[in-house]
Symmetry: C2
Subunit: 109 residues, 2 copies
DNA sequence: TAAACATATTTACTTATGCGTATATATCAA
DNA sequence: TTGATATATACGCATAAGTAAATATGTTTA
């Protein structure tokens, strides 16, 4: 495997680890609706302000969201909507997995 | 937010954390080609046998791959090909992010 | 049953991640 | 400059995740 492949795969994994937290997923889905300020996100999702800021930083560092200052506020927005498409796809995989497990349980009864 | 939403979002994050490792991504892409045994995967990807087994276990526990014993070997296969679609989509997001950063650097020169 | 091979797990350890609290920084208005 | 508000970061701690090496388990064949 080439070094480039290895590097890209590492970045690929970095994106996935940015998604590996329920609050960050909720943040992204919120930002898929429209841009929000940090405080609005914090209130919306019932997460403390420092927590919200820190999770947004992780998403920002990986280029998944962008921040623009608007006076006293900082507005965050989704960088690429295909990220939501990918999340939706994963949620479908998840849903079918749950369904198939439910079937398995029925079978076992 | 309902408890159900919270639980599903946790499972969503769990899938993402299963993807948050370069070797597991490589394992999934390998299994997207065709089923492989543990040893074949280990040789293919140059990962030790215990490591390969451990990472496969993580993917298996989250329902992303399935294992079937074939005599002395255990053959792993991809459970749902849409997982690869989602990974491909994330890789596209990643690629465009890299490209746009490259453009940024040019602009700054 | 014993040997050989494939796979899985345990152990002990290091590193990474997440959290609450407190505090720092940035912007604007008075 | 001071006060008020919004955002970001630092610190200390607890927990989770990853690792190598050794070993256990399971399966087939002699």
């Amino acid at each position: 495997m080439s070094n480039l492949t290895q590097e890209v795969t590492q970045l690929h994994a970095d994106i996935c680890s940015a998604l590996a937290d329920p609050r960050r997923i909720l943040l992204l889905y919120a930002l898929a609706e429209k841009p929000y300020t940090v405080n609005d996100l914090a209130k919306y999702l019932d997460i403390s302000q420092p927590m919200t800021s820190r999770h947004l930083k992780i998403l920002r560092e990986r280029g998944l969201v962008v921040a623009t200052r608007d006076g006293i506020n900082v507005e965050y927005s989704l960088n690429d909507h295909r990220l939501i498409d990918a999340l939706d796809l994963l949620r479908e995989v998840l849903r079918d997995r749950i369904v198939s497990r439910a079937n398995l349980i029925v079978e076992l009864k």
